[in-house]
Amino acid sequence: MRSRKPAAMPPAIELRGLVYTVNGRTILQGIDLQVAPSEIVAIMGPSGCGKTTLLKCIAGLLRPTAGEVRIEGMEIGQLSERERMPLRLKLGIVFQHAALFDYLTVFENVAFGLMRHRKLSRGELERVVRERLAWVGLEGVEHLYPAQLSGGMRKRVGLARALALDPHIVLFDEPTSGLDPINAYQIDRLIRRLNSELGLTAVVVSHDVVSVFRTADRVLMMEAGQILVEGSPDAIRRCDHPHVQAFLQMASTERL
């Protein structure tokens, strides 16, 4: 069922000794990570531990202070902004608050990258945009502006926009934060489905334990800019590291 790529493929994402320092504060202190093609990796950890910074380094939006970032075998860490532009198209990013262009309609948001990087006729453009919106379960909202949408719908439009250019890898920044359980469940299912149907590699940054355990193939726990433990969801559940246990217990549904 899962379209695994042959073993000769380089890892979709490879980080070696990634360090990120800003204004004298070290946010990431030597992260090593490999993500295989078609794998879903979740990065968990308390707020401020460097999850989003890590995601932005992978996306090439932040330049690492030291270390390597390889996307499908290609080192992007030290490339200039201009050189990185085409490489960014291999990746889609779903931002925490969707980051939709608020002066454009839903249609124009999803069509934004297509209009600039693909030569499509008006008809084809409309077809692709409608298809992407259908993937995320949105129809008939093309003409609305982001301000007219609910939080969950905005996130799904953000996902449709990220998927427009057929990226191999999608990075999710808190895809379920601020959503009700039903919307959160739908987003999780969507991530799973895109993975199984399109073979999409996904890196999900989240502190929503429930959502992480039902989507991820592998879970990383981060703390203070370092990876504390990593393993399958089951292994993480059984892990006896006190920080991991504290994190999981606080997220449990037991009555106080």
């Binding site: 204004n23 902004e81 532009m85 960014r88 990013i93 925490q96 980051a99 262009f101 934004f112």
Partner: protein, 265 residues
Amino acid sequence: MREELVWTDEGASEQPSLLRATLEFVGALWLLLIATLRGLFRGRFEGRECLHQMAFIGATSVPIVALTSSLAGAVITLYSTSLLLRVGGSGFVGGALSVAMTREIAPILTGIMVTARCGSAIAAQLGTMKITEQIDALRALGVSPIQYLVVPRLLASLVMFPLLGVVANFAGILGGLLIASALGVSAHVYFRSVQLFTEPFDLIGGLVKTLVFAVIVIMVCCQQGLGARGGAVGVGHATTRAVVLSMVLVFVANYFLADALFAKR
């Protein structure tokens, strides 16, 4: 060249000294200017965005530029006419105003009014886009924020500022005419004087000034917007700084341009 230094928070100090803040500002402005000039000739032309900005910066600024410059023309004429009539110099009324208008008042008022109206809006829009990650979203979609946001605004301004300057000249001279005729100078004498004392170079020099002001206003406001940090308060600070710095730099540039263009004439 690290054009991303324009919007990244990397390397920017949290509480910089005045000297350091000035150097950071000049550095970021310089980087942005170089990247924008490069984008002007090399990158994708954003026609639709450019038209939008021409309408916003140009067309919708016409009323306010016309109003303020006609009032400026009127008030100068009010003083100069009463003075000149006392020494029998009604033939100088139009000329005095038109020289002041074309060389100084029209370009300055264009720069100041567009800064107040559009510069502030540009800084606020780009600042909001920065703090809501829309700038990162652009980059993630393989679109340079400089190419998409800054270049069209600069192009639109380079076209519209001189046109607004022409509007300001007409409005100012008409405002002067209104007051002059009320004080007893005939329209014929007024226009004869305008013709006699204004040289084509006064008008051209004034419009050259507006081109320089266009670059200053757009670069400063875009740089401040893209450099905004820290939420709604940050956008507010960026907008204030954008307007203040633009206006101060317009006046500073005006002095040196006046010296270079008109001092020896």
